[in-house]
Symmetry: none
Subunit: 159 residues, 2 copies
């Protein structure tokens, strides 16, 4: 259907320009522009366009096109976790507020680098040699948090 393509483009355009707090508001704007559709269709359109509804700074909501960078980052992160699944990890141990990871030779740097890129981390810092990583825990960090945090990088990790 021809109308749909035009409509999708109109939706994208209007969302990029102005903000709407919900689908009904957006629907109204579209109706005023001459597009005749219902909330059901709009919902489907938004899904197809991959439009997300994001809370805004002023306590409201807005429709956005999430940045591609986000997705890419995520999928990269996933890939990393996959490729490491079998790889260099050997052991994890704790002493005081320090953790030590042993790896197969040469893997320490890579794994430490992955750990460093975690968005939220219980570590104050990491230091890698060839087959050993030192991790200094934040004061409020627990072994549990550490294990949780490391899971995406080393699936199934445990002390």
């Amino acid at each position: 259907m021809k109308n749909k393509k035009i409509r999708l483009e109109a939706i994208e355009a209007i969302i990029r320009v102005s903000t709407f707090r919900n689908q009904d508001d957006l629907l109204l704007a579209l109706n005023e522009k001459g597009f005749s559709l219902t909330q059901a269709t709009l919902s489907r359109d938004l899904k197809q366009l991959k439009v997300a509804k994001q809370p805004t700074a002023n306590g409201d909501y807005a429709y956005i096109f999430p940045a591609d960078t986000q997705e890419k980052t995520k999928s990269i992160a996933r890939d990393v976790s996959h490729s490491f699944a079998a790889n260099g990890f050997l052991s994890l141990d704790f002493s005081g507020n320090m953790a030590v990871i042993k790896t197969r030779p040469g893997y320490a740097g890579g794994i430490a680098s992955d750990i460093d890129t975690l968005p939220i981390s219980p570590f104050l810092g990491s230091l890698a040699g060839d087959d050993t990583i030192f991790l200094l825990l934040k004061e409020q960090a627990t072994k549990e948090t550490v294990l949780e945090t490391l899971t995406p990088i080393i699936p199934g990790i445990r002390k």
Copy 2:
């Protein structure tokens, strides 16, 4: 409330790692991790974290952090450019009797070397990687002494 902060961090962490198609699923995962909250609170948490629900490629939905990352990256970039003016120093943090200095890549060795040559030092030893320095404090050392000592090397340093 302390729990809330921890919970928000947990939510952020779990969302960055895995995907959930709705709040109830996410809620379940959080409950299993020991967080006791209801959908109402989760909704508020997500709003506060500015988490958006985005349609995915496979016709499903997922929670994401949209523009958030971009802003963070930007502000970090700014900080870096500031401290870069002087040298490679980025940050200083403490945990227990350890201090950690983060530097721009490659600067750790140089700065650590400078620290090692200090005539009077509150440190028992230092260990440098590429962008991180671990410093073990003498038992009587305080954060204040450390800052004082480091000032000649890193002017204007503070935690």
